[in-house]
């Protein structure tokens, strides 16, 4: 997969629309199911080691517009950075997918498949179910802006509220655990948080992939561009996969995914980076679920109680809210 990049510069291929990339060595003829696609990588579902171990394959195809040597080096750098962070963080007990294999020279990384759905979808479904009704009448939170006053208004949520608030607390604690290690995610959106389905008591009660036929060739199915790699604006409420909400359970562990932009924060920058992580997550809540935004307060609350620097980070978050994610260039 090294050379094709060079030849492609000569004859530009129009592979931008359909991800018909030819995968490197062992996967060229394998059956893969495209799960999602970001700016830099394609994410497939496949098997590893045994036919019944589902895994996620993240492939960063060579970019034809880059010089091949530079391209290789950048790809290698990024995959390795992601793999290292994942392994290190997992070692410390943060819930992230395990790294199972990889080949940076060829641009792929194999990770544990997390059975479940994204928090974004969970929230979408939760809103759809109308679990939210009560609060909406109480207060229509201002859309978009991440004002925290929206959160205070409805503490006495009521019956079904406890469960969703508990989910929020789990999110807060998981993020705190990551931040406690001075690792910042870099693209913390609701799409990059998974709710791992608790192991079903019997066979396959799980949603998603398993409901479709196993692996029917290389497809270009869903084009959920969930992982906006740049982390710019959180993706605006595109209708995610139109599937009936079957499993509405909010139980399960939170798993953080997509560490493509993660970095070890330095002493000086760590509070800022952590605060920006939270800010991005807050915006993701606001953008995709304006109605559910008050839930974010619960995330912050759990976060604040989870590690010693958290208070400082939350203070910093107030600054970040005022000016946005980017730091001012003045001074």
């Amino acid at each position: 997969m090294a050379l094709p990049a060079a030849s492609q510069t000569a004859s530009p291929s129009t592979t931008t629309t359909q991800p018909s990339h030819i995968l490197p060595a062992p996967f060229t003829n394998s059956q893969l199911e495209l799960l999602t696609q970001g700016a830099e990588a394609l994410v497939y579902r496949t098997h590893f080691l045994t036919p019944n171990t589902p895994v996620v394959l993240k492939y960063r195809p060579p970019k034809p517009y880059r010089h091949p040597i530079l391209d290789k080096r950048l790809t290698k750098l990024r995959i390795l950075a992601e793999a290292r962070v994942l392994v290190r963080v997992r070692k410390e007990g943060v819930p992230v997918p395990a790294v199972l294999g990889g080949d940076w020279d060829n641009g792929w990384l194999m990770m544990e498949f997390v059975e479940g759905k994204t928090v974004r979808r969970v929230l979408d479904e939760w809103v759809e179910r109308g679990a939210f009704k009560e609060e909406r009448s109480a207060s229509i939170p201002e859309e978009g802006e991440g004002d925290n006053d929206a959160g205070k208004q409805n503490q006495g949520g009521g019956g079904g509220d406890g469960e969703i608030l508990d989910l929020m607390r789990r999110i807060g604690r998981a993020v705190a655990k990551l931040h406690d290690l001075a690792v910042c995610h870099g693209d913390l959106t609701t799409s990059n948080l998974m709710l791992r389905a608790p192991p079903p008591p019997k066979e396959e009660a799980s949603p998603e992939g398993s409901s479709q036929k196993p692996l029917a060739g290389r497809q270009t199915v869903s084009t959920m561009r969930e992982a906006a790699m740049s982390g710019e604006e959180p993706p605006v409420a595109a209708p995610s996969k139109v599937e009936p909400a079957r499993d509405s359970s909010l139980a399960g562990d939170i798993v953080l995914i997509d560490f493509g932009l993660a970095a070890q924060a330095t002493k000086q920058s760590q509070d800022e980076d952590r605060a920006v992580d939270l800010y991005v997550l807050e915006r993701a809540f606001a953008a995709t679920h304006p109605s559910a935004e008050y839930l974010f307060q619960e995330v912050l609350k759990a976060y604040g109680e989870s590690f010693s620097d958290a208070k400082r980070v939350l203070k910093r978050l107030a600054d970040v809210r005022l000016r946005g994610r980017k730091r001012s260039m003045i001074g």
Binding site: A25, P26, F27, S30, T46, H47, F48, L49, T50, P51, N52, T53, L80, A83, R84, L86, V87, R90, K91, G93, V94, P95, A98, V99, L100, G101, G102, D103, W104, D105, N106, M110, E112, D166, R169, R170, R173, A174, K177, P198, P199, A251, G252, D253, I254
Partner: protein, 209 residues
């Protein structure tokens, strides 16, 4: 005849992996000497069974650590990027977190004192079959052959957890902070061995990078 189980990796269906497990092996010294002579008939990866970990969880994971190393060795061999001389030595090398081949052999390879042994043969040529491997091993390994199940869970039964934690520089079991289960609050407590395996696979993957 020794009992040999053949595994097939999903992405390398053409290269089966033959694995045999022995206990009460008495001639480890002889086998090791054959390896040192680089006798081509003894082109195996002989591993000390105490340092291969695998844990059955949920019946999903099979002898993951070993197969993962085999996959990496095979993959690197087929793309001509092996760091060591043969695919079999590469397999031993891939198990170790550091970039030191000799060290890998000392830690994972057969030692003169080895009594429980795992023999791995990569099916790189068509004449290497389950039968040929079984026959050859049966003739040369003095020990009791342990049949492997479908998933090969038996491979992990002698795993020495403390030894493995030391090799991979993991925190001792039960030590340290409360683990992930506490973070998420609900769900069943995590299987520490499963966690350990996840980290080991990661370390094997990013080694030498």
């Amino acid at each position: 005849m020794a009992s040999v189980r053949t595994f097939t990796l999903p992405h390398y269906p053409d290269y089966p992996i033959h694995i045999a497990l022995f206990k009460d092996v008495s001639n480890a010294e002889y086998l090791r000497s054959k390896l040192l002579e680089a006798d081509s008939a003894f082109d195996y990866a002989f591993l000390d069974a105490t340092t291969v970990s695998l844990f059955d969880h949920d019946h999903i994971i099979s002898p993951t650590q070993l197969l993962s190393a085999a996959f990496l060795a095979l993959h690197l061999h087929l793309t001509s990027r092996s760091k060591s001389r043969t695919p079999h030595s590469e397999l031993v090398f891939r198990l170790h977190p550091n970039n030191n081949i000799g060290e890998s052999y000392r830690k994972f390879g057969i030692a003169d004192s080895t009594t429980s042994l795992i023999a791995v043969k990569l099916g790189l040529a068509p004449e290497i079959t389950n039968e040929s491997v079984a026959k050859h091993l049966g003739e040369h390994v003095k020990g009791e052959s342990v049949p492997l199940g479908e998933e090969g869970q038996e491979l992990g039964q002698w795993a020495d957890e403390a030894k493995l934690r030391k090799i991979y520089k993991l925190e001792p079991a039960g030590g340290g902070k409360p683990k992930k289960g506490a973070v998420n609050g609900d769900g069943a407590a995590l299987d520490p061995r499963k966690e350990m395996e996840a980290v080991i696979l990661g370390l094997m993957t990013i080694k030498g990078s």
